[in-house]
């Protein structure tokens, strides 16, 4: 039974009945990372240092040393990333059971609001409206906030102003609803973090990080191509690197969608 199901899936991928969508930005030295006040430690940028390139340093091979943070580029946040999740069992990327890395995904479309308001908030009402149209968010599913923010380039992405960055994100009540009432698996965004640019001014500060990770839920950020996903019915594949004690990881995020 399961054997034929898997065969059906691979055939569906070959024939185009199912399709994979890449939700990942390219790891690129010029891709923005989160900026904190300069006296705090900063997120390492992605760097690639050539070790050899078929030359005197290694005649037949080319390879690079990489430097980056666990939270550089399109990345996964484990519960241990936040102080609220530091005592969550199996809260680091190496300890999370692998079955958490493939699962259903719901996409809440906030792109119209985010197009006109840089500080657009995902509220419980927007979630209820989504559910009215597409059904209740299934338990243990990923919820992604589509804003089309990934289409922004350069300084418009962080949108840093004198009073901090301005980008959309969820309100504390919206995160509580998703975590406490819908018991989701994780929450993902197209922005540099799961929280709004001005998320430090909520109570609690950075509510997505605080509430999600405190409840053992995961985060995904710097996603793209969410406009190619259906509101419900897709499958998200997001497997972080198995880093000992890691609080997150850059990763390739894909979604399996109807062709």
């Amino acid at each position: 039974m399961s054997h034929s199901l898997l065969t059906d899936v691979t055939q569906a991928l070959t024939t185009g009945v199912l399709r994979l969508v890449d939700l990942t930005h390219t790891l690129d030295p010029d891709f923005p990372v989160i900026i904190l006040p300069p006296e705090f430690g900063q997120c390492a940028r992605f760097r690639m240092e050539e070790v050899s390139a078929y030359d005197n340093r290694g005649p037949a091979w080319k390879w690079h040393n990489l430097t980056l943070n666990e939270h550089t580029g399109t990345h996964f946040d484990a519960p241990a990333h936040w102080i609220s999740g530091r005592d969550v069992p199996n809260g680091t990327v190496d300890a999370i059971p692998v079955d958490a890395f493939v699962g259903p995904v719901v996409v809440i479309n906030c792109s119209a609001g985010a197009a006109t308001n840089d500080d657009f908030e995902l509220t419980p009402d927007i979630i209820f409206d989504h559910e009215t149209a597409h059904g209740t968010i299934p338990e243990d599913s990923w919820v992604l906030m589509r804003t089309d923010w990934s289409k922004r380039r350069g300084a418009d992405y962080l949108n840093m102003q004198a009073d901090g960055p301005h980008s959309p994100g969820p309100t504390p009540d919206a995160v509580r609803l998703l975590v406490e009432e819908r018991n989701i698996r994780g929450f993902g965004t197209e922005t540099v973090g799961t929280d709004a640019g001005q998320g430090s001014h909520y109570t609690p500060p950075y509510p997505a990080h605080f509430i999600l990770h405190g409840a053992g839920k995961f985060g995904l950020q710097c996603l793209c191509n969410l406009d190619q996903l259906p509101p419900t019915g897709a499958v998200l594949i997001a497997a972080p690197l198995k880093i000992k004690g890691g609080t997150g990881s850059p990763l390739r995020v894909m979604a399996l969608v109807p062709g």
Binding site: P29, D30, F31, P32, I35, P38, E39, G41, Q42, R45, R47, M48, E49, E50, G154, A155, Y157, L158, M160
Partner: protein, 417 residues
């Protein structure tokens, strides 16, 4: 293209001249004159026994054979006794440059000296001697009429003793440094044709950017000294089109050794201050060193702005000082490497500067404008070592006087944040 005055363009069908050098090191004793000239100081040896001023530099007093000769600053005035013009030479460097004026000067301090002559000098007349570096990096002496207002850079024979930024294209590597606007302003005021300014992380706009971009003659280029590929790319693009490179990149986080449990900031200090310089040297060094005889647009100088803490750490800046010491060491290696090309490596040492990371440090602190002024003056004088500001000068002198005392005095406490 800016509307600023440009140098005549080079004929792309003509081969670029291979640099030739004036004669190399004369003697070990002569290095004292060179080290003084590197700072623009006119120093000669003086006999502690009979007070005789010596020239040329030697190992024993010309009068009493005392061997404890001491280098001292000497009043640089004298009388030009005779002048002549050398019409030809077997030395390639002088041969390429045609007629060369030399003369004999009797210094008020005593010795008679054969030296280079400025164009407007003719015997007999009162002259002032300047100690400068030639393109072999050796100290040489030049006579100018006393109170002359003519700049060496305007003298076709002696221009090579300077790194004058007039008509030069300059790269200032870090747009984000607080000193960048002042550097740009002083370079353009000194006649630089174009100032390229390196901008890292354009996705994180710097508040200084718009004002800099609006200045005629300024071109903002992508450059991140922590990214080898970024350095390589800009070097490929404009490495052959700059005559002066000013490395003003700096990462600084005040830190005392026992604090913190990680190396994150220390690594960033090394990455920007030391490895950044190494990446720049690997990227831009070969292009600059190969163009020191490139017609009228000769590559002139490489400038590193270093903290005076490079000599000796200061409490509160422990890891930063280590990165500066590493950068200084590399800079000295660069100087030795490029000496044979004639590309001058100038270190500008500065103490605490007026910026956010020195905010808790008591004044005096060097302002960006004062730093820029000293840096440009150093280029105009063709120096290798510039010490900018009273604090840095005081520290440098105390360091030279007695490194062991200095270490205990400075590193053990006096300074702290």
């Amino acid at each position: 293209m800016s509307s600023r005055a440009h140098m005549p363009k080079k004929d792309p069908q003509k081969r670029t001249n291979t640099p030739t050098q004036p004669p190399p090191q004369r003697s070990r004793a002569a290095l004292g004159l060179t080290a003084a000239a590197a700072e623009g100081r006119f120093m000669l040896q003086v006999c502690p026994e009979c007070r005789a001023v010596q020239y040329p530099p030697r190992d024993a007093c010309v009068d009493c054979l005392d061997t404890a000769l001491q280098w001292q600053d000497i009043t640089p005035t004298g009388q030009l006794l005779a002048d002549t013009t050398v019409r030809t030479s077997t030395n390639l460097y002088f041969r390429e440059r045609g007629d060369w004026r030399v003369g004999t000067v009797e210094l008020d301090a005593g010795p008679k000296i054969v030296c280079h002559l400025a164009q407007d000098c003719s015997a007999p007349e009162r002259v002032t001697l300047l100690a400068r570096l030639d393109r072999s990096g050796q100290g040489v002496l030049v006579a100018q009429p006393e109170n002359s207002k003519t700049r060496l850079a305007d003298d076709p024979q002696l221009k090579a003793l300077t790194s004058d930024p007039r008509h030069a294209r300059v790269l200032v590597t870090d747009l984000r440094n607080a000193n960048t606007p002042a550097l740009v302003e002083h370079l353009l005021a000194a006649g630089a044709e174009t100032v390229f300014v390196g901008e890292s992380e354009a996705w994180r706009k710097d508040p200084q950017r718009d004002a800099l971009a609006a200045i005629p003659g300024v071109e903002i280029m992508p450059l991140d000294v922590t990214d080898t590929n970024s350095v390589r790319q800009l070097a490929a693009e404009i490495g052959g089109k700059i005559e002066i490179l000013i490395n003003n990149g700096r990462f600084l986080r005040p830190a005392r050794l026992p604090s913190g449990g990680d190396t994150v900031f220390a690594a960033q200090e090394m990455d920007v201050n030391y490895l950044g310089l190494l990446r720049l040297a690997q990227g831009f060094g070969p292009a600059l060193a190969s163009r020191t005889a490139d017609g009228q647009r000769q590559a002139l100088a490489w400038v590193n702005i270093l903290s005076i803490f490079a000599l000796n750490p200061v409490p509160g800046f422990d890891t930063f000082a280590a990165s500066q010491a590493a950068a200084r060491s590399l800079s000295l290696s660069m100087r030795a490497t490029y000496q044979s090309s004639g590309l001058r490596v100038m270190n500008v040492y500065v103490g605490a500067t007026e910026d956010v990371w020195h905010q808790p440090v008591h004044p005096p602190k060097q302002s960006p404008r004062a730093l820029a002024r000293d840096l440009v003056a150093g280029l105009q004088d063709g120096l290798e070592d510039v010490v900018s500001g009273d604090t840095a000068r005081d520290l440098m002198e105390r360091f030279r006087e007695h490194p062991g005392v200095f270490e205990r005095e400075v590193t053990f406490g006096e300074w702290g944040v």
